[in-house]
């Protein structure tokens, strides 16, 4: 059986699945239930200074769903913990004591003043938890108070606050990044410069999830008004994966441990994060949707895949997809593929035809010899993959590589056996002088 034991910046946990700082980790009762269910660790719901903030008394969440109410994206206007600091600290201490083998990290967000951070760090150390996560990510409510994303969007602040914290505590410091910036490598570099042990990302994405068309107000609607919130859940995974990979590939932050967050719902999502450079993952929405029991599927699914594929431990999958992430200009432009339709599995819905006909390259028939039939016209097919994406039957359309030397009927040229990318392409005005 694959070994899922995990060590993140010195913090040990029996598996790489942690609960992200959010409602599932709001208090002792929840975290104990999570640990009983089998979660490897938890990042406690973000603490702030007293007097604690208050949440709205009306709806805090909004969502988008598939037709059968499968939750695809969640939006929230919740703030950090709305319970007194003392109560949280006592509970953290008691949980850590009862569950020494689980990772327990405390998330923090206090005003951008050194004494504030120093004070709270000392109190957190007393709980004997395993580390702190600096919440520079919350996109709503707190950023208007100069905290959360307001700090996370200014690399200089990140570096400064991280350095304060590293100076004041022996605990590992994880910096949680906001996705609400143009290039996530800058805040990651700042965290590293400030001495961070690791970064975690992503926090939620600024969003308005929907509009109540009767009230003409954003949802969730509080007394006729709404505000932007933070978006998370399955829909944000692609954004999170890209951000994780770009930090992992950045020379300046190479080797900086990453905790991957954003839309992790199944073991497969988690595996994708790990192969793109995350060392562990954190989960919020999936737990909020289905409860803590999903940890069983996450752990068993990951183990099963690793066993089947012959990966003995997490180190053997960590970052494995990174060497294959490249920039567009280095993709091999001589690689040529054509769509192929398996007529036996085709159910003749015509989606491939209309997608290609209306919006792409007019490369799929709808009639052949007076019969309803969908065939790829090699002379027109650019190999774009749109038909594969819209075909409702899995594996009915495949992209087949044309072997080197074969005629590409679209270009009228033989497929080159050589590698050739944009930097070498004759149409590129800035191509390498050497070529």
């Amino acid at each position: 059986m694959a070994d899922l034991r995990h060590n993140f910046v010195g913090i040990k946990s029996p598996n790489p699945f942690w609960l992200a700082s959010a409602p599932p980790t709001d208090k002792e009762y929840n975290v104990v239930r999570a640990f009983k269910a089998g979660w490897g660790g938890a990042v406690w719901k973000t603490l702030g200074l007293d007097p604690h903030i208050v949440n709205v008394g009306g709806p805090r969440y909004g969502a988008i769903w598939g037709a059968d109410r499968r939750l695809l994206g969640l939006n929230n206007i919740e703030l950090i913990t709305d319970r007194p600091l003392d109560v949280n600290l006592q509970e953290i201490k008691s949980v850590k004591k009862a569950w020494p083998d689980r990772a327990l990290v405390t998330s923090l967000m206090v005003p951008c003043e050194e004494p504030c951070w120093e004070g709270i760090l000392r109190q957190v150390e007393d709980t004997e938890c395993d580390g702190v996560e600096l919440n520079f990510g919350c996109p709503h409510g707190m950023s208007e108070r100069g905290m959360g994303a307001a700090v996370g969007q200014v690399p200089e602040y990140i570096e400064m606050v991280t350095r304060w914290c590293k100076d004041k505590t022996r605990m590992p410091v994880i910096v949680k990044l906001t996705p609400n910036i143009t290039d996530v490598r800058y805040p990651a570099r700042a965290a590293k410069a400030g001495g961070a042990d690791a970064v975690s990302l992503i926090n939620t994405i600024s969003s308005i999830i929907s509009v109540d068309l009767d009230q003409f107000a954003p949802e969730p609607t509080i007394d006729g008004k709404g505000t932007h919130g933070g978006y998370c859940g399955p829909a944000v995974k692609p954004i999170a994966l890209n951000m994780v990979a770009s930090i992992a590939r950045d020379a300046e932050t190479a080797g900086l441990p990453i905790s991957g967050i954003g839309g992790v719902t199944t073991w497969r999502d988690a595996a994708e994060f790990l192969t793109l450079g995350a060392e562990n993952v954190q989960v919020c929405t999936a737990a909020m949707t289905y409860g803590f029991k999903i940890i069983e599927e996450l752990v068993e699914g990951l183990e099963q895949w690793m066993d089947n594929a012959g990966h003995p431990d997490l180190d053997s999958i960590h970052g494995r997809a990174l060497p294959n992430v490249t920039e567009w200009q280095y993709l091999n432009l001589n690689y040529t593929a054509k769509a192929r339709i398996d007529q036996d599995s085709c159910i003749k819905c015509g989606r491939c035809h209309i997608a290609c006909e209306d919006t792409s390259h007019q490369a799929i028939t709808n009639m052949v010899d007076g019969e309803r039939r969908f065939e790829v016209i090699d002379e027109e097919c650019v190999g774009c993959n749109l038909c594969v994406n819209v075909c409702p039957v899995e594996s009915c359309i495949t992209m087949e590589r044309l072997p080197a030397g074969d005629l590409d009927k679209r270009t009228g040229k033989d497929v080159s056996p050589d590698y050739g990318n944009w930097t070498m392409h004759p149409n590129n005005p800035m191509r390498d002088a050497a070529e």
Partner: protein, 447 residues
């Protein structure tokens, strides 16, 4: 009342009274809003969708389903009614398993078509319950058209003519409009007086008047009608029945299934409809299935449908056959009645001969079985009963001959529905033909 259940003879009240209500409830209850969303989500929004080709009225099915999925039920209903103003009834009675749902690509893919019929009902119910009217008559053309028959063909024709700005007078021989929607369709397919609601919904466009108890052939003639109107449309269905090809010793030995169903459909109290303990139905179409099933639901203990050919030759779809079998009807194949005699106790002895195919032709085998029953139904096809009423209008294969625009041999008379040759005896086909005949009449009158 169990003793009545077991009593021989043709009697009323075989069941406990509350059982009737249960037995004749909606056969396919409507989808609730969430079920509709889930069902709608299964539609792939096909290009040149095969389901549309398979619908005789060519409803834009992917469009109306997409409108359901986006919460636009009004728009969805309108998409349906644009092509089929009786889309509400069709959603209930169409044998979708041989029409749109058979053609659905998800039937091809996984044997589970999109529930087109139920979705169509979902949208049309919404519009009809809220009496959302989508059509106004065009400016008055000054033309009037007489429509004979207020069945699906006549109603669809009248509605389309009214939309075009013509005035329509419908004459129907029956006391109620609706044709077989009112008098023929199985009770559990059209509950809560749906047929009458639909007549009201369709005629609400205005410009249509219905004269009931008014029969072409009694006081009305084609020529007389053409004196008053610019055109005539015949949607008279099939009034007659084929004769039982067996020797009988009296005329009233068998019951015409269509008449029995009409009696049942008009019954205020199902307990008052008399039915035998042992019932035999001769036939293999939708009518045979419907009368057999409804006889069971009325409390007949033992119902047999006897058909002279095999299962695949039956006009009733396999889904209809299965539903009937599930209600306890016994469907037997390859047998035909040759002699029916009445016993002293009033029961009937039906002598059946087993049949077979010999060189492609149906023949008797010379082997017989005699079955004792209380009631014998014939459901062996209907014929055009109009006879002299349609005057010199040409007939072929026993039905009115029409050209591709549904014009009869009389250039001022059009016809559609069951009464014309070349159809398939379905409600939805009658609607399509009535609608298309109206377009043809309009084109002929205004150009």
């Amino acid at each position: 009342m169990v003793d009545r259940y077991l009593e021989d003879g043709v009697i009323e009240g075989r069941l406990d009274s509350d059982l009737y209500e249960q037995n004749f409830a909606d056969a396919h209850p409507p989808l609730d809003p969430h079920e509709a969303l889930v069902a709608a989500d299964r539609c792939y929004f096909c290009y040149d969708a095969p389901c549309v080709t398979a619908c005789p009225t060519a409803i834009d099915i992917p469009k109306f389903i997409r409108q359901i999925s986006t919460g636009n039920l009004e728009g969805s209903a309108r998409t349906i009614f644009d092509q089929n103003i009786l889309g509400g009834m069709c959603a209930r009675v169409c044998p979708t398993e041989t029409l749109c749902e058979q053609a659905c690509v998800r039937e091809t893919a996984e044997g589970q078509p999109v529930q087109i019929g139920l979705l169509q009902r979902h949208a049309t119910d919404h519009a009809m319950k809220n009496n959302l009217q989508f059509y106004d008559p065009a400016e008055d053309t000054g033309k009037t058209i007489a429509v004979i028959g207020a069945g699906p063909a006549g109603l669809a024709c009248a509605h389309r003519l009214a939309m075009k700005g013509h005035k329509v007078v419908i004459h129907d021989a029956n006391p109620k409009a609706g044709g077989l929607n009112e008098y023929g369709i199985a009770t559990y397919k059209s509950v809560d007086q749906f047929a009458q609601h639909e007549v009201d919904y369709v005629t609400a466009i205005g410009g249509i008047s219905i004269v009931n108890d008014s029969r072409l052939g009694d006081n009305l003639t084609i020529d007389g009608l053409l004196d008053e109107h610019h055109a005539v449309f015949l949607g008279i269905g099939l009034g007659g029945v084929n004769a039982l090809g067996a020797e009988t010793d009296s005329d009233d030995i068998s019951v015409n299934a269509v008449d029995f169903i009409a009696e049942l459909r008009q019954a205020e109290d199902f307990a008052k409809v008399a039915v035998g303990r042992r019932v035999m139905v001769i036939g293999g179409g939708m009518t045979a299935i419907d009368v057999g099933t409804q006889a069971r639901l009325l409390g007949a203990q033992d119902v047999t449908i006897a058909y002279r050919r095999g299962r695949d030759n039956m006009n009733a779809s396999s889904a209809e056959q299965d539903q009937s079998s599930a209600k306890g009807v016994n469907i037997r194949h390859w047998m035909q009645p040759v002699e029916v005699t009445k016993s002293g106790s009033g029961s009937l002895n039906v002598k059946m001969e087993f049949t077979t195919l010999s060189e492609g032709k149906l023949t008797g085998t010379g082997k017989f079985e005699t079955v004792e029953v209380d009631q014998l139904f014939t459901a062996i096809g209907q014929t055009l009963a109009a006879g002299e009423a349609i005057g010199s209008i040409a007939v072929e294969h026993g039905r009115i001959r029409v050209d591709e625009t549904f014009r009869t041999s009389n250039p001022s008379v059009w016809a559609g529905g069951d009464c014309v040759a070349g159809g398939d005896d379905l409600t939805v086909t009658a609607v399509a033909q009535g609608r298309d005949a109206a377009e043809a009449i309009h084109a002929a009158l205004v150009t």
